[in-house]
């Protein structure tokens, strides 16, 4: 079954039949977590680096921001039996327009926020396709843990 993860949204599952997919990552970032032992996986599509720009919003929808969404995402994985030491982290997105510095570089700031949170928690990124000026779609196969990234105008590829 295909489960679509929307913008500012997160889904975890242990259904081996399912595929999690999130479309149209521009500056936003898609993170896939997968524990191969218990075959639990999830996908988070966050949009902005820090919740401080709108705390009330972060209360309502923590998946909007890296700093509120990522820690909660790991906790949802643990609830289904995922273990931090086994979880594989794969990341895609964080693109930006050309000459983005200063005003339009949310993609880069999203990447930095993500790295900071993972680094503080001793979590490594196993694979990533980030930056550039392209749109991406990310797909996680629960049966295999494979993460596929489709860049607009190109073929889908395994990361």
């Amino acid at each position: 079954m295909k489960i679509v993860v929307g913008m500012a949204d997160m889904r975890v599952t242990n259904d081996p039949e399912s595929t999690l997919i999130t479309y149209a990552l521009g500056s936003c970032i898609g993170i896939s977590l997968y524990d191969p032992t218990v075959k639990v996986g999830g996908l988070l599509h966050f949009m902005l680096p820090e919740s401080q720009i709108d705390l009330e919003k972060a209360q309502r929808n923590p998946w909007m921001f890296a700093d509120t969404g990522i820690p909660l995402f790991f906790r949802e994985m643990y609830k289904l039996g995922g273990d931090k030491k086994r979880i594989k982290v794969k990341v895609a997105g964080g693109a930006q327009v050309m000459d983005a510095e200063g005003y339009f570089n949310i993609g880069k700031r999203n990447c930095m926020a993500l790295r900071k949170i993972l680094w503080k928690n001793n979590v490594f990124i196993h694979a990533e396709v980030v930056g550039g000026n392209v749109n991406r779609t990310v797909r996680l196969e629960l049966s295999s843990g494979e993460v596929w990234v489709k860049t607009s105008g190109e073929e889908e590829r395994l990361i």
Partner: protein, 284 residues
């Protein structure tokens, strides 16, 4: 014959823009237009009336009591909002199609258009400007040139993509280098041919180069921002992706900071359910 002339010649074979939309467009541009003019334009179009009422009663407005007639909608929703619904309805069928040249699946371009139109309202509010129906409409229609340029981009895609990937061209620069024209210019010229009001034609033609617009630069640069922020947010991005220049000067012109852009994106997400109401027009 060059690509632009070819396209302009072929517009006779394109589906015409709905007559009702053309009439409504001129109401948008005319400060003297009134509710009576609007009722006059739409009252005999039952399909349009039904669609308008459907949107009025959708999550977009979140009304408690349903609206049953156009006159009631005018009172409860207002003239400008009704114009915006009609513009959206009239454009949905054309923008909702798939455009393979740009690697846009069915609905993608429409999603980008609707997000841009809502961004025009969010950004004007953010910079304390009055939101206008002209802004909404220009933002909604800004990429109309992609619809006509699609086939030509498709035929020449490897060459265009090569310039973007290897020579650091923006997508629109690559279109121009390969095809001799680009989607903004095509959109502007088509708008003239369809007799859209001039301010809309400028908003469309100069949405990647606002400072070249002969007039209405403030509006045009707002459309630029709507387009760029919609792209960043991932609404309906295609093969061109985010390969366009970020222009700091325009941010400064509107007094916007990087944090403002984040707040604007956050507000757009709040209105996703409204986007859905408008998006459904493409399929409904």
């Amino acid at each position: 014959m060059n690509t632009l002339d070819l396209i302009l010649q072929k517009t006779t074979t394109l589906p015409p823009y709905p007559v009702v939309v053309q009439k409504v467009l001129h109401l948008v541009d005319d400060p003297k237009s009134s509710a009576e003019d609007l009722v006059g334009v739409i009252q005999y179009d039952q399909a349009l009336t039904a669609q308008i009422l459907r949107v009025c009663n959708s999550a977009y407005f979140g009304l408690r009591r349903p609206i049953h007639s156009i006159r009631e909608a005018l009172v409860r929703i207002g003239f400008n909002q009704l114009l915006e619904i009609i513009m959206s309805y009239g454009s949905a069928y054309l923008f909702s199609r798939a455009y393979q040249g740009y690697d846009l699946a069915e609905g993608d371009l429409w999603r980008h258009s609707v997000a841009s139109a809502l961004l025009s309202q969010i950004i004007s509010k953010h910079v304390n400007q009055e939101k206008t129906t002209v802004q909404f409409t220009a933002a909604l229609l800004h990429d109309i040139g992609k619809i006509m340029l699609n086939e030509h981009v498709k035929e020449n895609f490897p060459e265009i993509q090569k310039l973007v990937h290897e020579k650091n061209y923006s997508f629109i620069e690559a279109e121009r280098a390969v095809l001799g024209t680009d989607h903004a210019e095509v959109g502007g010229k088509i708008s003239e041919k369809w007799q859209f009001p001039q301010v809309l034609a400028f908003g469309i033609q100069y949405h990647h180069s606002p400072f070249l617009a002969p007039s209405d630069q403030e509006l045009v640069s707002l459309i630029y921002l709507c387009d760029v922020i919609a792209m960043m947010t991932g609404f309906g991005g295609g093969a061109d992706g985010l390969a366009y220049h970020g222009q700091k000067k325009i941010m400064k012109q509107h007094g916007l900071t990087a944090k403002d852009v984040e707040q604007i994106i956050s507000q757009l997400e709040d209105r996703l359910h409204q986007v859905e109401s408008l998006l459904n027009m493409g399929t409904g």
